[in-house]
Symmetry: C2
Subunit: 151 residues, 2 copies
């Protein structure tokens, strides 16, 4: 195993815990760019372990792969990213995460109101954050009730 030649995809998979197929898929999505050895096999830098770890963390935060690609674009591509580089783009994640938490807290407060009155009658209730899930899934307007609690 010639160390100076970079990591094989299998080695990278073992280091990150990702499936080989997932790593190839991420490549098609522009998240990682290996070079090829003379035999046509993918070779990765050791820094790519960190890169894929970042991808996994960002996914946990609810970012889509295109969004993660955007964030990763903030890294320098002419050199191996430094700790400072990673710190910079991680702070972008932090903002994203704060938004998600706020949205959920708002949702919880609304539910509290509904439980409080026991009627679940809205429009005081949730669905008043069209930002979070509404855009990701489904397609219609999806507003709530619009109906007096007489039924």
């Amino acid at each position: 195993m010639p160390a100076s030649e970079g990591l094989s995809i299998g080695a990278l998979a073992r280091r990150t815990g990702l499936a080989v197929s997932a790593i190839r898929y991420y490549e098609t999505q522009g998240l990682i760019s290996p070079w090829r050895n003379p035999g046509g096999q993918r070779r990765y830098q050791r820094a790519d372990i960190r890169r894929l770890s970042f991808v996994m963390i960002a996914q946990q935060f609810g970012l889509t792969l295109p969004e993660i690609r955007e964030v990763l674009a903030g890294l320098p591509d002419n050199r191996t990213p430094t700790p400072a580089d990673w710190k910079k783009i991680s702070q972008g994640l932090r903002a994203h995460l704060d938004q998600r938490i706020d949205a959920l807290l708002r949702l919880r407060d609304n539910l509290d109101g509904c439980i409080g009155c026991g009627c679940l009658s809205l429009p005081k209730c949730a669905l008043y954050n069209p930002d979070d899930r509404a855009k990701t899934y489904g397609s219609g307007p999806r507003y709530l009730m619009g109906d007096a609690p007489e039924d």
Copy 2:
């Protein structure tokens, strides 16, 4: 429009903001059970407006349709649910939501640690809640780094 005959699927769609196709789909998933008029068309109770609203709220909270079906099973099926009935099952949502918020807060704290040291080196970092997304998406082990920050 004979009021005593219940709501048509189009009327229900207008009242809830859902697409007609989505309402039919929810029926296949056991979330709602209309009866049929003599011509074979679906007819809904007015209480179904509330039922679908609940479905939409629960989705915002991150519940899957099978999970929502479980929660709805807590409603009486021999009579129209009362405010007290809705309150009871809404409290189940509250617990679910609290869990999700906690998971995100833990994740945020972990990220803080990573940003603090600037290395994103882990395993101090995230991915230490295998409960949230890990089970839902992907299939491999997906642990992080396992690598000293030397690269």
